[in-house]
Subunit: 573 residues, 2 copies
């Protein structure tokens, strides 16, 4: 492709509305443009990358035995009513009415449609297991779309669904999909991790997220230093740092603390170790509890994990923090002076706080704290539960090593759905013995367009994108300097271009009448892995310059060797 | 692909709700399933065909210099307000509101979005001409979706748009697209015709439809017997059969015709030649005319062309036929007794009727007709215009030969839009002389999913689909008879399968435990072009049977020659 016949659309300035680097670079490299909030047009350069992701995903899905199909974007409401999600799903589900005033939705996902298909088409156990997938446009009406295509409203997704007679069969396909996802992200050239994810009501290792590791990731992922264990921090089990509390060494004292409104105040003003403090958070109780509020106690250096908290029977879901007024009403003190001693409402204490000794906490009296608290001696140990986020150094829940934390971007999610949809929608088959059996179901998603952004978050420098070879929109850039002032430069550039194209290589030939620096900057920005620079000075020695975008290495090549050299670089990449 | 690992989903019975053969066969061959009115799920077999169409279209668009991009399905209303189409477009435009109550539409076409893109990105004449295309899901909320994917609500379309400094440049790209479309339909193996289409207000040969010829087509296409002229019958110019009327030979007589309510009654009861009759149709007048209604006169054997009629200045657009009551009020007679003599409202007469002589027509008195009417002698010749459909035998408007008529299915449309959108949306560039210039624009559509149905309408027999090679979901079917009772049959079937797959051929290996007749019927129904049948009897002679789906020819092949033979058949197809 010659730039003169292409849309380069690079931008020198960083657009002010782009917060994250991938969004900035996708705009600057001429990959996407915003049409409206959360709606993006893919330019040729961007779409080429999308298609590469799609193709690798398609090949690995096919290899895993999944069959590609295509379901409508527009879905009838009655199926969503059958599954119960027409009511349950929030406003992210864009509900629409057709000209006859019938209800439809723009598909954010296709469990209902695929289950409807399977219950009509699949009647016999002989047709199982069955895996179906599609690569297709989805719509989620995000309340605050942001980060470009990372969290857009319209996006391209690969969604797969599998159907089974038994949990064992589901597990087999799940394992196959897990492997297919690993293959996909390896082939894409990304540093990724499969991560244990929330399993909801199903239990077991029944859900994994796939994360591309990048400092800018929205998710924290907990890894074991010694094993392959990795879990989303929201879901990583937090163990107590030791089995039992140390013996008490301090007396319980009630102290005036008029200027200690926060844990940090307490630590600074009274020289206590933050691990010897606890904080008390008041949340709405569930209907199961004979109280309006519940107190949650975590160590001063720990953070409440809201997902874990709202799963407790005693706590209302979704989690609702008490207002300042409610705290004062119920506790008789303000948020800065709360604690487990003399607490008028039920208390749940985190595992780590439950093995603290000689610790301090608010006294439920404004401006007063207790110091030297010890469970059992000073108050009964309340219910203990895992309600905090893991932190670096925690024992890994896998039993080996300790926790380290890295940031990740979720680009895939595989999930054992069990019979959630098949039961609600009555999708079953006759077994070998003639009995009707509800199907087990799995689902497997990959955010195709999101991967493009995630790859950039992981692969860039101050000059622009550094595409992994598998994702590059063009493998090679030919940059002839001041081509329009010379005869031999265009001749050699054209010859190299033709040879590479004949070998099936995607080449961007920069034939614009631009200053060399403009051309260099654009090719760097667009992240083309292999660059051939052709200029008068080197041609005097019958040479051209090769530059690797990945390593930054430059090398002078004899003109006649240039094509083979580049082909080798591509092959060995 | 082995059938045991695939969804065959063939149906023996013809679904009762499928009216046209392509819809019936797509359901029966397991290509599509209905999700809701006008919404279809594409099964693996159907999607394979869709992808083949897409790939050929993509390759030819790329070759024509168009750049592929991807625009959102969901489009903001404000762009449609700028173009004026938010108001103009009927309820086929599905208007929706997002969670913030902002207006959007599901894209039935993308002129607004692409013009918005170009006005922001393209600033200089140096970047022109520019052609952009996408292959993407569209939505049109048809009032009565029917014929399966032929007229569905959600469908896949290739839409391209070109931008130019001048009409000459637009014409060049238009010609290139015309050629690309011819290449596409030739490569698809379809019998097609480019057909002159309505040019609206632009004039010239500025629009062509591409039709796949098939008896079941919805459109009538007029061809010249002598030239390449072809036009949609709605738009084909109808010439007068001769330059002037013959001299009068009959007297004008007023006759009682109490039982002649229609032209056919008149012809039968009074033995007149139908070409010597005219019929008079009353339509609503436009505001330009000082009358509420207009009488349109065409020959008894001709049909009014509503599109031509409503384009007349005198006629209201859209065309509105007068009600029975209105006719009686205005004309003083009922619809069966109308004519141009003593007509109380303005009359427009078709070119062919205008050269009729000695003809008969209603007398505008119930139960009476005039016979032997001659223009000029008996009444002044009113305004003459082209208001009828051409018929077989008419002189071709190209000047060569006469008209023949065939039926076609519109699968493509190319159109010179001029400045309709670029002016309304202010899309322009600076010219070489620094002047602001509004862009000329062309648009070029192909109905990807519709082509699949049209190809079947053109290529089928009573056993099922007969795929052109380029469209076949699989090139080869291997049908081993009673494989499960034998050792050598599966061995040979597997060996042939492996060799063909290694050559990159798409093979469907029917390894089901089904009776041979079921397998034969399914492979015929699915229309797989090349079939290899493996059975005990032929294997005794070390032979297998080859069958061509296209010709029906069968041939016995030595086992060792089978692969090469089939490869040759595919190559030479």
């Amino acid at each position: 492709m010659r730039t003169s016949q292409y849309i380069i659309a690079t931008l020198k300035e960083t657009p002010s509305d782009a917060e994250v680097i991938s969004h900035q670079l996708m705009l600057r490299a001429g990959m996407i443009r915003r049409l409206a909030s959360g709606l993006y047009t893919w330019l040729p350069t961007g779409l080429k990358v999308v298609r590469k992701v799609e193709q690798i995903v398609r090949e690995e899905m096919d290899k895993a035995g999944a069959l590609e199909m295509l379901m409508p974007v527009v879905q009838p409401a009655d199926l969503w009513e059958e599954s119960g999600r027409w009511q349950e799903y929030g406003p992210e589900l864009l509900r629409i009415k057709d000209r006859h005033n019938r209800d439809f939705a723009l598909g954010p996902t296709h469990e209902e449609v695929v289950t409807e298909f399977v219950r009509k088409e699949i009647n016999s156990y002989k047709q199982l297991p069955l895996s179906l997938y599609q690569i297709q446009t989805k719509f989620r009406d995000e309340v605050r779309p942001r980060f470009g295509v990372m969290r857009s409203r319209e996006f391209v997704m690969k969604d797969a669904y599998s159907f089974h007679l038994s949990q064992e069969s589901l597990q087999q396909t799940y394992d196959k999909m897990y492997q297919a996802y690993c293959n996909i992200f390896e082939r894409l050239g990304l540093d990724f991790r499969p991560v244990i994810a929330d399993t909801g009501s199903i239990g077991g290792d029944a859900s994994h997220e796939f994360h591309v590791l990048a400092e800018s990731g929205e998710d924290d992922i907990a890894f074991s230093t010694e094993s392959s264990f990795a879990a989303n921090i929201e879901k990583a089990e937090a163990l107590a740092p030791k089995d039992t509390a140390d013996a008490a060494t301090q007396e319980l004292t009630l102290t005036d603390t008029p200027n200690a409104k926060t844990i940090n105040d307490l630590v600074e003003q009274f020289s206590v170790n933050i691990e010897k403090t606890v904080k008390t958070l008041i949340v709405k109780a569930s209907d199961d509890v004979d109280a309006e509020y519940i107190a949650l106690v975590v160590r001063g250096d720990h953070e409440l994990n809201e997902i874990k908290a709202e799963k407790l029977d005693e706590v209302a879901s979704p989690l609702e923090m008490a207002s300042e007024e409610a705290i004062r009403d119920v506790m008789g003190a303000s948020a800065g002076s709360l604690g487990p001693i003399n607490c008028p409402i039920p208390v749940i204490v985190d595992r780590a706080a439950a093995v603290a000794s000689d610790f301090s906490a608010g006294a439920n009296v404004d401006g007063k704290h207790y110091f030297g608290i010890n469970w059992s001696r000073d108050l009964e140990l309340p219910t203990v539960a895992d309600i905090r986020n893991v932190v670096e150094g925690d024992p890994s829940p896998c039993g080996e090593g300790t926790i380290t934390i890295k940031r990740g971007i979720e680009v895939g999610h595989i999930f054992q759905l069990g019979t959630k949809y098949s039961k609600a929608m009555n999708a079953g088959v006759l077994t070998e013995t003639g009995k009707h059996q509800v199907l087990e179901m799995g689902c497997y998603g990959i955010g195709i367009t999101r991967i493009v952004a995630a790859a950039i978050e992981q692969n860039h420098d101050k000059f622009g994108i550094k595409w992994p070879n598998a994702l590059a929109p063009f493998q090679v850039a030919i940059v002839p300097m001041n081509m329009h002032k010379s005869h031999r430069i265009p001749d050699i550039a054209n010859a190299i271009y033709d040879k590479l194209v004949a070998k099936g290589i995607e080449v961007l030939f920069d034939d614009r009448k631009e200053r060399p620096s403009v051309m260099f900057n654009d090719m760097e920005l667009m992240g083309i892995p292999h660059q051939i620079v052709i200029g008068e000075r080197n041609l005097d020695n019958n040479q051209v310059e090769y530059k690797s975008r990945t390593t930054g290495d430059k090398e002078l090549l004899d003109v006649d060797d240039a094509v083979d050299f580049v082909l080798n670089q591509i092959k060995n990449a």
